[in-house]
Symmetry: C2
Subunit: 533 residues, 2 copies
């Protein structure tokens, strides 16, 4: 059934925190990660994934241009409702046309493209462990865990509302696999923690239970500020360094069609002004919040994404930002959202074409709409992975654990996804075509009619020749029957429990932990954040 | 849950059989299919699939050349064991080097490439219903049903040895979906029919229960001849016309490493000499019958495929033939074959590169190794479909129903695969980017903050806007729970039974049926074929 990657070997903590010269700190392998570069840890196979496969296209050059122009026409002629006075003022100052007494803002196509020109094509998101830094853009491929599910499920416990215990278990699982490069938000919403202080407990857990980059929700200005401070403390650096090194990201969803709500706009202002990462993602379900045609939904997605991205650049030129695509279709008989469909595949690939046109990193998702871990869960996810790989996705939200169209974070689905993500990573690994790999001598040794089981060529390679899946059950029918005919669901259920049992906290400087605890305690004494926004 | 395609509308029988002038008969839409062209049937959505997606590559140009050259070196220096005197004589006559007193034949690289030059890059396989003709090569994508499984399974009956009743049910299912373009052999081996006459009953069933192209096993000369005669009778044409219009195919497996057995060589001689279709497919499991490296297994696959393909051209220049790839890996802990793995994906894509290099149609497969219909069955198949689509597979064996690494034909897996194949076909359908589809007016109508459920743009399109899956269960958790929480397996079990209940035989001219029955009866009286080969 295959061993899973062991992480412990390389979870060393940086020896120094803030003592390196800034010029060194900006280099990807410089500064405190230099020693690590000299002594590479054993199991970093799935870090820094690169997707060099030729990207697919579903839009011709003309069609791509037509989608682009139509979306600019929307922004110019229809505009967006911008539900925050401060944002409208900043937009007006940048040259947008605000209709007095209303929320409506119209953006000249020249203004939009002028703003797009300053968007960085790639950047690094910095984790408290530099090994966990992630490169965003280009051919880089970064997988983030499921986020924001209201429910959580495993077979024994069934489907239930999220709580802190399950939140922590899922975060521990995210830490346990190298292929999960970052968390993606709260994997499940822990509703047993009061909303006024939930972000303090949850983000503090992110620092303690993982050493990976994490996300802050844009649900009011103070949450963003608290999140930035927690990320700063976790990394043990100054706020000036945080501004040089983006270390935290936020998902900004438009309220489709054509609206940006107050907390989202505040999130852009707080995050972009401090050079933290914003991911602008319209959620454009064709036939519901967007036109029933995939082309039409893409036009609207593009309009909304460009508006949000342009605003990040109005706040701070050069602020790191991603183009998010989340166009899918609904079941027109019931209105239920559908994911991992042929239409979703086309939308994902078209989204990649648009992002590449603007030379901006592309965020998409690993989706499915199944209520359980059955064949549907697997084929919808596999089709999603096909599309996002061929479409050049850079940052993949909901990579592992997404079930029931995002309503549930599933422990078993998390393991299934990890296995599938690792298979994608293995598929993207270059094929060894050295003279030795071509194996002429091995063929000569064996000759017609023989077999290769015991040859030196085989013996020298068999242990590492092939990917060893976590879940795939390749036993013959009789052996599998004797074992009780386990399904993938059974294996995934066993594996997630084993993995949780084996979890170890990544090292954290006690001084940092103390500072973090003190900050959280103080902010809780202050009452956390208002929850009446 | 989606309607399934109805076939009845277009299962008309050709009005004339052999009366059209030959020059017309060679044209794809000419002759007796002309009327059909003028009145296209409603439900031919999944016939004549074209895969215009840009093909992926896992071999650089240099690596492709290195694999090619290494395989030619194998044929030149090591050679193949050719277990049929007549074949060795034909090879010697064509210029190969036969070592006297042995089976060993060595092929000069110039000879191999000279033979490859006459291979047709594309051709038509003719069915008894011209609507079911399949174009092989180029960007065409043809799906064939599972073949040659010794076992059959459905949930109620469990896994059992194949028999005629299950054989017929599976053949009926193949007829019931347009996305299944041809059968692929016996979907399950009906061991309750004596081997001496099994091919007579089975191929006669293929003509009666389907109107699609079918396959004859190369298990001795007489079986090939009987199969050709049955195909001829089924089409109601002369043997001269059969020779102009390939109507039957055979899979030729090498006995890896580097051996071609007698019945396979006889199959090439009988089929190629009559211009029928040969599919040369080495079964090169890396680490077992081929080197443990994927590159090495590909070198060996290529050597064996080239030898078999070259032989078809020695038998008859220009005979239709396909390049078959079936390289995968084994589980090195147990020796069990693995399918749908990252290694399989790379091998499928590399095989496509090789076939395109030789400008020859490419056969590959939809594989998985699961013992049941679980997530593994789906993800291994979906990864296979990803690879064969991106790799430019032209003719896909085992497209639907393959389970347990090919040991079992599964009724439920058949439906799952049909659904996944249809999703691939929908993905390959060009995206509508007309001005109307771009939907600017719809966005204008709805404006910020609205929804698109009731707009004219939606109402005009909602019924056909999206693919309606056979199996995907998109109901919300509560409704799904009330329905008893069915999985994909449950749905597939129900659907295959409904589909069998709805099956209707395609029309067949009674004169043809009589001629077919008389032929089978005569051949049975003659004792069928020897079974001691």
């Amino acid at each position: 059934m295959g061993d899973v990657i062991k992480l412990e070997n390389h979870l060393e903590q940086p020896e120094t925190a803030a003592g390196d010269p800034p010029v060194e700190r900006r280099r990807r392998s410089g500064g405190r990660s230099a020693e690590r570069t000299r002594r590479p840890p054993a199991a970093t196979k799935y870090l820094n994934l690169v997707n060099t496969t030729a990207k697919s296209a579903v839009l011709s050059e003309d069609a791509l241009e037509a989608v682009h122009e139509a979306s600019l026409t929307i922004l110019e002629e229809i505009g967006m409702d911008i539900i925050l006075p401060e944002a409208r003022e900043r937009m007006k100052a940048a040259g947008a046309e605000v209709t007095p007494g209303t929320d409506r803002v119209r953006f000249d196509r020249g203004l939009v493209m002028e703003m797009m020109a300053s968007v960085p094509s790639s950047f690094t998101m910095h984790a408290r462990n530099p090994l966990r830094n992630v490169e965003i853009g280009g051919n880089n491929l970064v997988f983030a865990q499921v986020a924001s599910a209201p429910f959580v499920a495993d077979r024994e416990g069934g489907r239930r509302a999220g709580n802190q215990e399950d939140f922590r278990k899922l975060v521990k699982l995210a830490q346990s696999y190298d292929i999960i490069h970052t968390t993606g938000g709260y994997p499940v919403e822990p509703v047993d923690i009061h909303a006024s202080v939930r972000h303090l407990d949850c983000l503090s857990d992110m620092v303690k239970l993982t050493d990976k980059v994490f996300h802050v929700y844009s649900l009011g200005r103070q949450r963003n500020l608290d999140g930035i401070e927690i990320a700063r403390i976790g990394r043990g650096i100054s706020m000036e360094e945080m501004e040089r090194e983006p270390s935290l990201f936020t998902i900004i969803n438009t309220s489709s069609p054509l609206r940006l709500d107050g907390p989202m706009l505040q999130g852009i202002i707080e995050m972009s002004s401090r050079n933290q990462v914003v991911v602008v993602t319209p959620f454009t379900l064709a036939g519901a919040m967007a036109p029933v045609t995939i082309a039409g939904a893409l036009v609207q997605q593009n309009a909304e994404a460009l508006a949000g991205i342009a605003f990040t650049q109005m706040v701070r030129k050069g602020a790191p930002v991603m183009y998010g695509g989340f166009t899918s279709n609904v079941d027109m008989k019931t209105g239920a959202p559908a994911f991992g469909t042929p239409e979703y595949m086309k939308a994902v690939i078209a989204g990649g074409q648009l992002a590449r046109k603007y030379n901006i990193p592309y965020r998409t998702s690993n989706t499915n709409a199944s209520n359980t871990l059955d064949a549907q869960a697997a084929y919808e996810s596999a089709f999603s992975l096909w599309a996002l790989t061929q479409g050049g996705g850079n940052f993949i939200m909901h990579s592992a654990g997404w079930s029931e169209g995002g309503l549930t974070a599933s422990f078993e689905k998390f393991i299934l996804d990890v296995d599938m993500l690792q298979m994608v990573a293995e598929y993207l690994t270059p094929l060894d075509v050295s003279a030795d790999a071509l194996g002429l001598d091995a063929v000569r040794d064996v000759g017609p009619g023989g077999h290769f089981f015991g040859t030196p060529h085989t013996l020298a390679r068999y242990e590492t020749a092939f990917y060893s899946p976590i879940l795939s059950d390749w036993r013959n029918f009789e052996t599998w029957t004797e074992a009780g005919r386990p399904t993938t669901y059974d294996h995934a259920n066993r594996i997630f429990r084993e993995k949780l049992d084996a979890y170890e906290r990544p090292p954290l400087d006690p001084a940092i932990e103390d500072e973090l605890d003190a900050f959280v305690a103080r902010r809780k004494e202050e009452g956390g954040v208002p929850t009446d926004f």
